[in-house]
């Protein structure tokens, strides 16, 4: 019994020892807490920054994919040189066939066929006529600065044998956004913002009706909390950006470049503006610079008579001038 007393007494700590231990422990804990807190903060910051960047990149990447494959036959061909139906001139010549010595009967058949095509596609909301080969020419639209609707070859069938081609109409615009119940309320983000929405219709690309936004086609939201969106279109002839397609020479059928400016609030409540320029994949087959002489003489002779032989038909009508190559095969 007596010998066990001594070791028991030595097992305790002195006050000093305990004080030192506690202080040391305190310092270490402080350091550890600091480090963990830091790491949590950096994790939040980096994921948030990366998430915001990813979001805008995905949204604009979608637009880039669609716009890069924008489609119109006028990118590689020209408008049909064809006498409008009901004209006084009986001897209309159907542009491409004029060179060959074909019989009158086939000429008339061809003419009827082309007339049918033209009549079908000439005056509707989505198409504006037929190209030299008989391909319908889509009409791109920009009813206001925050909306752009165009014909694209970017569709890919999701189901084998579904009745879809790679053509589709697609529209980018702003829409009122629904409240997202899962999203955290950020007091710095103002109310009444909109969403960037992509409407897409591949079911019947040659229909004459526009995309019905309120009806069966439901847009997919690309980016939330958008304050403003602005499209601008490159006018090659005037070498400047235009705010509507109508003011671009030939812009309703051929667009070379789009400048997109979008102002939005990210998840941290910061207002951000992103500006991008997009091009499509078509080669730049361009008319000659609006040089003196040739262009003006081409206009006058091209519009007055159906036989545009000899003169450049590059500027015969307002719609084709931005598109036709220097030497149209028809002339």
């Amino acid at each position: 019994m007596s010998h066990s007393n001594k070791p028991l007494r030595q097992r305790g700590f002195t006050l000093i020892e305990i004080l030192i231990a506690i202080t040391l422990l305190g310092f270490i804990t402080l350091a550890v807490v600091n480090i963990t807190e830091d790491s949590i903060r950096t994790k939040e910051r980096t994921t948030e920054v990366n998430k915001n960047n990813l979001q805008i990149e995905t949204a604009l990447g979608r637009f880039e994919w669609d716009f890069s494959q924008i489609y119109s036959p006028l990118y590689f061909s020209s408008l049909m040189q064809f006498k409008a139906p009901g004209s006084v001139d009986g001897t209309a010549d159907a542009g491409s066939g004029s060179g060959t010595a074909s019989t009158a009967a086939t000429n008339i058949n061809l003419q009827n066929y082309y007339e049918g095509l033209v009549q079908r596609f000439e005056r509707n909301e989505h198409f504006m006529g037929v190209s030299k080969e008989g391909f319908p020419i889509p009409r791109f639209a920009s009813p206001d600065k925050a909306e752009f609707e165009f014909f694209t070859a970017s569709n890919r069938r999701k189901l084998e044998n579904s009745k879809q081609s790679h053509f589709a109409w697609v529209r980018y615009s702003l829409a009122d956004q629904e409240e997202d119940p899962d999203a955290e309320e950020n007091p710095e983000v103002p109310k009444g913002l909109k969403s960037l929405v992509r409407y897409f219709s591949a079911d019947d690309p040659y229909s004459e009706k526009k995309i019905n936004v309120d009806g069966e086609i439901k847009g997919s939201v690309l980016l939330r909390n958008v304050e403003s969106l602005k499209f601008e279109y490159w006018d090659y002839a005037k070498r400047k950006w235009q705010s509507t397609l109508k003011s671009v020479v030939g812009g309703e059928s051929v667009v070379r470049g789009v400048k997109l400016e979008i102002t939005w609030y990210d998840s941290a409540g910061h207002k951000r503006t992103t500006e991008r320029i997009f091009r499509n994949h078509w080669p730049m087959v361009l008319p000659e610079d609006p040089a003196p002489g040739a262009a003006t003489s081409g206009t006058t002779s091209g519009t007055t008579s159906g036989t545009t032989s000899g003169t450049t038909s590059g500027t015969t009508s307002g719609t084709t001038s931005g598109t036709t190559s220097d030497d149209p095969p028809g002339s």
Partner: protein, 191 residues
């Protein structure tokens, strides 16, 4: 009993053990901190890279949509400018425009056949032996090559855009071929 008592007494840590424990702790903490540091710097770097890349793409797209006039004065030019706009004032771009220069036909032929075209054994007046396809007419090939060379040098130009952050000196660069639309292909081959 005595054995057990000593064991009990020795249950405290020695200085060495405590120091090893501290060293291990410090090692893991520093590893953690460096990893985190990389995380942060990678994130800022990727953000920076994204920015540079976007600016670069924008400039290249602008250049392709609105090409400059290609004359002899534009060849081999290099200009540096700062981007407009408050957000981009830290970024500058350098635009280089170059002509494509192809070697002369005689140079190409000399490399293939030996020291010089005329001196090599394969060269036989107008004809030369390329080894697998028999005799070929050097004069005709030269005629065609010269036409191609003339047209390519006239029509296709090279451009490179380099965007640099003035503070960090990070940069990103893109290059492209630009077609000179004011020129046309001209072939004057006559046999």
């Amino acid at each position: 009993m005595a054995q057990g008592l000593r064991n009990l007494r020795e249950k405290g840590f020695s200085l060495l053990e405590v120091m090893i424990a501290f060293a291990l702790f410090a090692f893991f903490i520093s590893a953690f901190l460096t990893a985190q540091g990389y995380n942060v710097s990678d994130s800022t770097l990727s953000e920076e890279q994204l920015m540079l890349q976007q600016l670069c793409e924008r400039k290249i797209n602008e250049l392709i949509l609105d090409p400059p006039k290609f004359t002899n004065a534009t060849a081999n030019t290099k200009e540096t400018k700062t981007f407009e706009g408050k957000d981009y004032e830290n970024y500058e771009y350098t635009l280089e425009i170059k002509k494509i220069v192809l070697p002369d036909f005689s140079q190409l032929f000399a490399q293939k056949g030996g020291a010089s075209a005329e001196g090599s054994e394969a060269y036989d007046g107008d004809y030369y032996d390329d080894g697998n396809k028999g005799k070929r007419n050097a004069a005709v090939e030269k005629l065609i090559f010269d036409e191609l060379k003339k047209n390519i040098e006239k029509i296709i130009w090279q451009a490179r855009v380099t965007v640099t952050n003035k503070d960090t000196k990070y940069n990103f660069s893109l290059s492209t071929f630009i077609t000179n639309h004011t020129e046309k292909v001209q072939l004057n081959v006559a046999f």
